[in-house]
Symmetry: C2
Subunit: 259 residues, 2 copies
């Protein structure tokens, strides 16, 4: 009679490390497999923004899975900003063209939920904004400058009305970043300011007077850009950002005491 172990004699070689005959069986979620397939098609360009995926019920047949699985896959794709779901007749899952808005949101979300301090974010902001100033000076269009001036004017009015918010400052900085005409940089700025607006709101109350100085500096930056003067723009921006950094630093040390 053959002992059971002999049936696997070829595999059980004592003292001999078994080579890669078998791979560990990976338990992959079916919904993840569906996601990977669709994502691969998007990356390869076989699926382009605006394209419509089959209806959920049709995808059940295509992928040979239940509707629950298809729907979970769609939730993942939707959360990743790859598809957009529309309900009703002629609805369905449409491949999205990821907007700066969405990229920025995700970035902001990641920063909010990760152990990154406001101080670190501010420092990264300084790096980013100081670096993009030369690009803006070089590329800003008259439309960019008009928008920036308008934002400064709105801030001035809001300050007079005592309705100035941190979001208005963020809007200025985001518009400034978009004036660099580089989508990647613009997305990063969106991420930073989406984060800043919520995480540094307290700093606004700490120093409401700062708004006046800050707004004046904003305007000074815009005019330096309009004059295509890199040095002046850099100088003003540096002062502006480092003043913000100090404010964050003090707000932080304060919260340490009060928390």
């Amino acid at each position: 009679m053959v002992a059971p172990s002999d049936l696997f004699g070829a595999l059980s070689v004592p003292g001999d490390p078994p080579p890669d005959m078998f791979e560990p069986v990976t338990t992959v979620r079916m919904s993840q497999v569906v996601v990977d397939q669709i994502r691969a098609h998007v990356r390869s360009g076989r699926l382009s923004p605006g394209d419509k995926l089959p209806s959920e019920r049709d995808m059940c047949d295509v992928f040979a899975v239940s509707r629950v699985t298809v729907r979970e896959a769609l939730r993942i794709l939707e959360a990743n900003g790859i598809v957009e779901i529309r309900i009703g007749a002629q609805g369905g899952a449409f491949i999205t063209s990821p907007s700066r808005q969405r990229v920025g949101e995700s970035l902001a979300d990641l920063m909010l939920l990760s152990p990154i301090t406001a101080l670190e974010v501010t420092e990264a902001r300084i790096v980013l904004e100081m670096g993009l100033i030369p690009l803006v000076v070089e590329r800003a269009t008259s439309e960019d400058l008009d928008d920036l001036r308008r934002l400064c004017e709105q801030a001035r009015v809001a300050l007079a009305n005592d309705t100035y918010t941190m979001a208005m400052s963020g809007a200025f900085h985001m518009r400034l970043a978009s004036s660099a005409h580089n989508t990647a940089i613009e997305s990063l700025a969106h991420g930073f300011y989406g984060n800043m607006v919520s995480s540094l709101r307290q700093a606004q109350n700490v120093a409401p007077v700062m708004g006046h100085v800050g707004t004046q500096e904003h305007l000074a930056v815009v005019e330096a850009i309009a004059a295509r003067n890199v040095e002046a723009a850099t100088s003003v921006m540096s002062r502006h950002l480092h003043r913000t950094e100090e404010r964050v630093r003090s707000a932080h040390s304060e919260s340490v005491h009060t928390d």
Copy 2:
């Protein structure tokens, strides 16, 4: 008998633009509501990394929804990197502590799927890396410098063996970024190089000889940092990055022809 319209008499004021009495009825997905509640608790700190959410079946009771809805919510939270699901007994949804790794992955993913060109990414890289040089010069520890020198040495050996890869260059730049001792900057760098490694792989073949020059420049940057010489480090780095930019630019124009 009261006409139906009279029941809303107070609301139907002809000629008077209706103020914000009614809000548009938004059909929000129930799974999204669940996501929002959990996410809010994470943001407020009531849920911390490592905490375990109730089991799916328990959450059905808590939120008064079906298991399908709970599971879709979990898929969204998982895709956002907020929770991690473990199967089996004592499994469930655990709040994750977002690692640099994850943040970087998501960032890279966002860039891959968004209409951001390699050229734009490279430009953003230049802004980031030039900006972080002063921080690195100020903060780099001997451990940082040792690691960077080791990476340079590995690259030298790999070049001799003809096993040099773009990933090795990326590793150097990521380690350089982490030497700034700023989590936010480190995450951004991870995002950039995770993206670069895949999107610019072709550039490697275009100019394999470049590796020698690039590695020598890497080493020069390290030594300038070790000497705490901001100007020298900035100068070398600027040359290095702009050479890379040119390479990307030519690779891009080439791919335009070959694609």
